[in-house]
Symmetry: D2
Subunit: 136 residues, 4 copies
Amino acid sequence: MYTSNTNIRIHYALTDQMGVVYYGNYAQFYEIGRTEAIRQLGFSYKDLEVMGIIMPVVETNSSFLRPAKYDDVITVKTILQELPIAHSIIFYTEIFNEANKLLNKGSTTLYFIDSITMKKVNMPDFFLDKLKKYFK
Amino acid sequence: MYTSNTNIRIHYALTDQMGVVYYGNYAQFYEIGRTEAIRQLGFSYKDLEVMGIIMPVVETNSSFLRPAKYDDVITVKTILQELPIAHSIIFYTEIFNEANKLLNKGSTTLYFIDSITMKKVNMPDFFLDKLKKYFK
Amino acid sequence: MYTSNTNIRIHYALTDQMGVVYYGNYAQFYEIGRTEAIRQLGFSYKDLEVMGIIMPVVETNSSFLRPAKYDDVITVKTILQELPIAHSIIFYTEIFNEANKLLNKGSTTLYFIDSITMKKVNMPDFFLDKLKKYFK
Amino acid sequence: MYTSNTNIRIHYALTDQMGVVYYGNYAQFYEIGRTEAIRQLGFSYKDLEVMGIIMPVVETNSSFLRPAKYDDVITVKTILQELPIAHSIIFYTEIFNEANKLLNKGSTTLYFIDSITMKKVNMPDFFLDKLKKYFK
């Protein structure tokens, strides 16, 4: 299992008139969590795009347990439960507040796509190699 | 079954550097679809809030089949498959492009909450009454 | 002078915890107003991009007089006060609520840029021709 | 003069199909810069709201010199050039990339408003006291 944590401070733009974070904005927290999970492996999602691989989201789901609020510092925990095989990768996300209460959890499935041909490709070997040590 | 259609034109803010609509923005399309589905029953979600009932999202999921693009006019089809019972309501959403291709589908579960006590309440009777004729 | 009106319904995502539209979201209303002002001339901003011309914003300013609120239908009035010359175009925007009260006004300056060379270019002739009849 | 710096990493949601940060998203950077400028004085904007003071934006302007791009870490420099008097405060903002190039500059005027009466009030004394040492 590979796990990564990232902190995000909630700014005003993310709230709505219920006085909490708008439900649609959690997708951004998931994205930031995934990006930092990759960066902590030693390269960046941006590097992947420069190499000609993009990772569009094909499926996401999210459960809202408690609201995140303005100025909260949330912790986005991003988890790979299994070593990805072939062209697909699933990130699990759990979001906690400063009192370590679980606010939200969900998962996101992305494909590896060649940005020229727009066809599915396997996860690059150097990505797989970075992950292998977490799964044995 | 109750079904409602709404059209949305994609503006620049909704796109990202992949040249398609950012995955997190579909939650807004789902929201607009739900709001217009309620309005077409003869009242508005705003009316509900004025009456002291808010409807936070507790769960959502979404599958991305084809990308929506800048300046597309998408059709958001919002469906109630079952008459809601008690404090919970599930909206199904299907999003089509102008060629009637399915771009995205998903569902969203919301609770009816008293905005003073913040406790779950049953769907208001007048809301239920408006829906009954679609389910027999 | 060339003037165009567009209506926008305020959805939940656009509000913040002050119970009004977040100040940063007016830029989207300005954008939609500009886009529809161009469309009402008989072509689209998307057409311009396909032709290899992009129009990045180089300057914007905005005054907030009264708040827009959830579920309001605002009218975005977009105005060209002068026939653009050379590579620059200024759109003035005024936003009204349903009671015809002015909520917000501002202006945005954009450049015409060749999307290959990324150099400034003059406004295309067919664009200028569409506008000329409004300025004499 | 009072100056504060904050860093922000650009995530995907902030980009648009021009491959740069959408112009409307700079308002969020300005907001985050203002919030952190206040926090670095020893209290938070959230504290002000709890005390019954809100600070709506009444005017903003912004010049776009160079684009911010995906995964850039930008530095938001927030400046008070003058000690605020009465009910109004002007924050100047300059945004730099990692090469210390100026990407964007602008200013934002906010009012101090009593959240109950919705009337203008003077800047609270404790806020003024925190600032005085920077202006002599």
